[in-house]
Amino acid sequence: MDLNELETLRTRITASRDKDKPCITVCGGTGCHAYGCLKVAQAFRDEVRRLGLSDKVAVRQTGCHGFCERGPIVVLQPKGIFYQRIQLADVPEVVSKTVIEGLVIERLLYAEPKTGARIVAERDVPFYKRQHRRIFGSNGHLDPTDIDDYLALDGYRALAKVLSEMAPADVIAEINSAGLRGRGGAGFPTGRKWEICRAAHGEVKYVICNADEGDPGAYMDRSLLEGNPHSVIEGMIIGAYAIGSHEGFVYVRNEYPLAVENVGIAVEAARKHGLLGKSILGSKFDFDIRIFKGAGAFVSGEETSLMSSIEGRRASPRQKPPFPAQSGLWGKPTNINNVETWANVPWIIRNGAKAYSQIGTQDSKGTKIFALVGKINNTGLVEVPMGMKLREIIFEIGGGIKGGKEFKAVQTGGPSGGCMPTELLDLPIDYASLAQAGSMMGSGGMIVMDEGTCMVDVARYFLHFTQEESCGKCVPCRVGTRQMAEILARITRGEGVESDVERLETLAKTVKAGSLCGLGQTAPNPVLTTLRYFRKEYDAHIKERRCPALVCKAFLAFDIDKRKCVGCLLCLKACPVKAVSGEIKKPHSIDQTLCIKCGACFEVCPPKVRAVTKTSGASAPERVLP
């Protein structure tokens, strides 16, 4: 296929599509999958067929819409009616009432939590309203397994432009002036990276798409690959053209089966359409992509480690320099960018660097997708302009903290990021500001924590993760993270000593300064930031022997307020070790020597009664050992 044929095809596709034809789009993202969207989509198809509407109504399973908290999500086009939490039982009603009669079903609409007002259109939902869905927006409009959908949305127009009008140097200049920086974590200017690789000596060069997203709670790249794989592929082809590479790899973890499947289908379709392979779109440029399935080690996301894995060796990082652009995959100059970075490329080419750089901050341009998770009302993927304040993301888009609790901290950048407290809520997010606050952009994980979260326990959790995921090559990371995790575990067990804090600080500095790769160099961040912003909690654990957030078991005590207890026997029955004693309708009591602090009594005590108390520290009852 050449350039003209591409345009002809695009015209044919758009002409064959009636913009006013009703279309039921069911989100097919991973979150909605978990809610059972596959069955819902099938039910819609069956219902439409049963009613003989197959010609008049289309059903489309799309990529992730982002609002995972409310899945399965169904949007009825062309009006854009936004239904959430659709169950199988709702399907016939939606078809008969909304699709056929055009009526809106109130109860399926999203309700504004504060006012309770129902919102009809997707774009009016506060979760979406403040977002800037440049990269992620098309997800909801296309079926990722159908290249026609992508072509209908101006897909591969950027590639056509590059191949017909632009020299490689022009492409790099465009990316440079757009100010695009790597979305994988370190934020290296993408155009600069391409330039170095282009200038590197060598006939054979590779480009790689890093889709080995491994941060707990982060799934932006997954949703992009699952929902809009062609945008990533188009970006890679453009990058390869700019760099002078003819072979590319998508390194995707095998734990993302849908991403593996969809990107495979997309590569196949692109090849069939002459968008990959020999003389792409009739030009003299050849490029093809191979998909490499990673076995899911966190450290494989590190670029040198990833290349080592593609080469068939153990995924361990090596010291840089040489950088991949000088000597990468099989010793050849290699350019690695993350999924989101690649997906930004076609947009820049289509709309121009100027349009791209209009949003963002001084040194961080464009938008960034975050995975907003944790103790937040609107869990999901959000795409916001760089420079948006944390407060806006968490309280406006995210809808605030679950259960009306107090916000305590937000952790950005995955397990190696830092925890930022309330005082930093007005921090505009970009690469520099996050680094200054002791955290990092990372690939875009954002974990929100409420007052019921113990920060020492959080640090322990993340260090436990990094010590398990360290490759074990260099000493500071292998042994240092293990020692930090052990000290933190000791503190949460109530065995902390005063020198532990100092020892943690020393260790954190040693590991940060001494480690070989990014994993080790950033692993101490959770410790360092919690020590910086939540030092009081460490002191409470070590000096006062209490856990302010009532999380660490060692410091907890459960007791029964005799004035409140109605003697319902619930806690007595729930106790697994028979520590609760008492008779019906008489106040119960807990034998502290038997109690294993499982919290079962606390959980079952009816909210009206609230007789069981959970306390920590001085107010806790003495535990008298026999």
Binding site: V299, Q319, G472, P476, V479, Q483, E486, R503, A513, L516
Partner: protein, 795 residues
């Protein structure tokens, strides 16, 4: 370029790392994972330095100098960083001794404390006081560890031969894994698991034996701690002396440092310099001690009295032997092993000619590939094609290996070939079986056993027809060679070797590459009756392509024996004729200073065995004279490159053994021969040098020799339907087989096995593990060889 280290201006090359530059200039930087033979790894993080203009610390082992670079190797913050990193290393390494309050007095009281089952501190460790970790700990002055120590609780692995693995002591520097992959190409070990669970292990956690370990010991030698330790001598005290010898087994001539304690050999380790560049193989690294102290050593001279060998004094034995031999002058022969030093071979040869009137001492391994080439030189008056040294291998572009399983027979040559492969050379192999060699080959041709001639001739033919290699143009004999090639029946070439023409053409293409070529060949090439034809074809291919020849000498002094034999008049007896003469009774007395398969029935009247070990021949011997081993006498050996190397005397001879030259010269003197008054080996060497006997002067013109098709093989095919190629491995010293000397070696390799295809086995009624009798068409099936055989019986 100029760089500054700690304020000192230093001239540096871009090829050496900052760490190496610093070390070369006497600046100390602690480092544990780096090693001169290995690529930078940057894992221990002890060698960190500060570089002006770069943030944080940089590992000096992975940093290359740049013009004007300013390096600081010692500062308070660097010291702190190193100490803290070391504390982390020690938190996982048994460190009881380090923080022990009694450590200052410990040395006086620790007697045999090393025999404890579990290493909890330095004094319990076999590497105590030769541990790199320990050294750095002392230099960094670390004496307390602020962390809880972790004992990983691995059970010590003792099931494999030669060395034991205690990964509780491992600091995961990765040297063992890297040397196994990068240098030895065995890749038997690797890392398992990750993070704090990471440990060195084998695939599926099998034994090293099952994982394809060659037991070269390179991992043991690079281990900076006691995690890998040689089993033998592990609980002994440290050596008090050492001497450098030449490994006595194969022709590579590896230099070994032999460590001794109170005059007893403890261990042998590859020397850093020299031909072997710090590498050795299982034989040299692990079996020397077992060989020297073998229970089958002959300790005192013995003579036959009343049909029985009885021990006697040297005086009596020499008088007896000299007296008897005198009466057999002219009807006696001497057989020698080419594992003896040049001094021994020279004196024994003189002894044979001047005292016994024989044609000269006959080497037990004969004909050798060197003899074969020498014969061609003599016959055609040409110069041998260029000889290669081991150092030529890494720089070559193509290496063709014929007639030898190099990874097993000459592992240190294999190390150099692997280095060449890493540098981009192509490995071309023609062999009748699949092994490690063919697995690494860029092109591997499966040929019929013994059909190398046809492959070589057709390669030359293809190359000549396409006319591109220029190396041989205009040289003498080219036309004759071309004509002789044309005379070969066209059909018999590739086809006879069992190959497609296309395969030969592709191989020829690889040989036409621009760049140095080395032809590596071994005894397998001359084990068929048409040895001379094979060598002629090889010779011509070498001249045609300008390739260098690397003959894989099997024995440590084969080259020396060949050099000395050049003095002899042509027609000197071969081992085959000697044995035949012994059987028929043409000769009456035989003097064995090397292995010779004596027939059960022979016409000998007087048999003398001069050897270090009791062997089969001793039973029928009239006198047995104990000879010193390589470790007990000074001597010179000529390796396969022609390099003359000195081997030092390491220990006093075991029992009353004497150097071979000493015995021969004393006998000769007593028999009235003149000029045998040698007092030490040095005098003999002086004479060798004076006469220029060890100098390799190859004169004459380069040129081609005509080739002829082999005869004498295939026509006996009906009678002897199978071809039996032997596996050549110098797994012996003199008459002692290594599997007999070392129980561990026996686990690794037991050569007394016949490998046969399933169809042939079924035809002969053989089952796995059965015993078979093999009969060959070759009159002399002396050593391992290739021969047409039939299996005549099974049990």
């Amino acid at each position: 370029m100029k760089i500054t280290i700690d304020g000192r201006s230093i001239e540096a090359q871009g090829t050496k790392t900052v760490l190496e530059v610093a070390q070369d200039n006497g600046i100390y930087i602690p480092a544990l994972c780096s090693h001169p033979r290995l690529a930078p790894y940057a894992a221990c993080r002890l060698c960190v330095v500060s570089i002006k203009g770069k943030p944080g610390f940089q590992p000096s082992c992975n940093t290359y100098p740049a013009e004007g670079m300013e390096v600081v190797t010692d500062s308070e913050e660097l010291r702190l960083q190193r100490v803290r990193t070391m504390e982390l290393i020690l938190s996982e390494h048994p460190n009881a001794c380090l923080i022990c309050s009694e450590k200052a007095d410990c040395e006086d009281h620790k007697a045999s404390i090393r025999k404890s089952a579990e290493v909890t501190g330095c004094v319990f460790c076999s590497s105590n006081r030769r541990c790199e970790l320990q050294e750095i700990v002392v230099r960094l002055k670390v004496d307390s560890i602020p962390y809880s120590s972790v004992y990983r609780g691995f059970s010590v692995r003792r099931s494999d031969p030669f060395f034991i693995q205690d990964y509780n002591l491992c600091i995961l520097c990765g040297r063992c894994v890297r040397i196994c992959h990068e240098v030895r190409g065995a890749a038997a070990i690797s890392f398992m698991f990750r993070g704090s669970q990471a440990v060195v292990g084998t695939m599926f956690d099998r034994s090293l034996m099952a994982a394809g370990c060659q037991f070269c010991g390179a991992c043991v030698d690079v281990c900076p701690t006691g995690a890998l330790a040689e089993r033998v001598g592990r609980h002994e005290a440290l050596p008090d002396a050492e001497a450098e010898t030449v490994c006595p087994y194969c022709g590579v001539g590896c230099r070994l440092v032999v460590e001794t304690l109170q005059g007893r050999i403890q261990a042998a380790k590859p020397a850093e310099g020299g031909v072997n560049r710090g590498q050795a193989c299982v034989r040299g690294r692990f079996t020397l001690r077992d060989v020297v102290y073998s229970p089958s050593r002959i300790r005192r001279p013995m003579v036959k009295k009343d049909g029985k060998l009885v021990e006697t004094s040297w005086e009596d034995a020499l008088a007896f032997v000299a007296g008897k031999l005198k009466s057999y002058a002219g009807r006696a022969c001497v057989v020698v092993s080419s594992q003896l030093g040049c001094e021994d071979l020279f004196v024994l040869d003189r002894f044979a000619r001047e005292a016994l009137g024989a044609g000269g001492a006959v080497p037990s391994l004969q004909p050798s590939i060197l003899d074969g080439l020498g014969d061609l030189v003599k016959a055609h008056g040409l110069k041998t094609p260029h000889r290669a040294s081991l150092a030529d291998l890494p720089g070559s572009k193509a290496i063709l290996v014929l007639g030898e399983n190099v990874p097993v027979s000459h592992p240190v040559v294999w190390v150099e070939i692997l280095e060449a492969l890493r540098c981009g050379a192509k490995l071309l192999v023609a062999s009748h079986k699949d092994d490690l060699l063919t697995r690494h080959a860029s092109q591997s041709l499966k040929i019929r056993p013994g059909s190398e001639f046809y492959l070589l001739a057709s390669l030359s033919k293809v190359l000549l027809e396409s006319g591109s290699p220029q190396a041989g143009s205009g040289l003498k004999g080219l036309d004759g060679f071309k004509k002789s090639l044309e005379k070969l029946p066209a059909s018999c070439l590739a086809d006879t070797a069992g190959l497609q023409e296309e395969e030969v053409r592709r191989l020829a293409e690889a040989l036409r590459c621009c760049g140095p070529i080395v032809l590596v060949f071994g005894q397998g090439l001359i084990s068929m009756p048409w040895a001379r034809e094979n060598l002629a074809a090889l010779w011509d291919l070498a001249v045609l392509t300008g390739a260098r020849l690397l003959p894989l000498a099997e024995e440590s002094d084969l080259f020396g024996a060949w050099l000395l034999a050049r003095r002899k008049p042509s027609g000197a007896p071969s081992l085959e004729t000697v044995l035949r003469a012994a059987t028929t009774g043409e000769i009456k007395a035989l003097y064995l200073a090397g292995p010779a398969p004596l027939p059960e029935k022979h016409g000998l009247e007087f048999l003398v065995v001069q050897d270090s070990f009791v062997n089969e021949a001793c039973q029928g011997a009239d006198a047995v004279l104990p000879a010193a081993t390589f470790a007990e006498a000074e001597g010179h050996f000529v390796n396969l490159e022609g390099r003359v190397q000195k081997s030092e005397k390491v220990i006093e001879p075991v029992g009353e053994a004497k150097p071979d030259w000493w015995i021969a010269s004393h006998l000769a003197s007593r028999m009235g021969a003149e000029g045998f008054g040698y007092e030490d080996a040095g005098r003999i060497k002086e004479q060798l040098d004076k006469e220029g006997l060890l100098a390799l002067q190859e004169e004459g013109e380069a040129g081609f020799v005509p080739v002829t098709a082999p005869s004498g093989g295939p026509e006996r095919a009906a009678e002897y339907p199978m071809v039996l190629p032997g596996e050549y491995c110098p797994d012996y010293y003199r008459t002692l087989a290594l599997c007999q000397a070392s129980p561990d070696f026996k686990v690794l390799r037991n050569p007394r096995r016949l490998k046969i295809g399933p169809e042939d086995a079924a035809g002969a009624g053989l089952q796995d593990g059965a015993k078979a009798r093999v009969e060959s068409s070759s009159a002399c099936a002396a050593g391992p060889g290739t021969a047409r055989v039939k299996i005549t019986g099974a049990s």
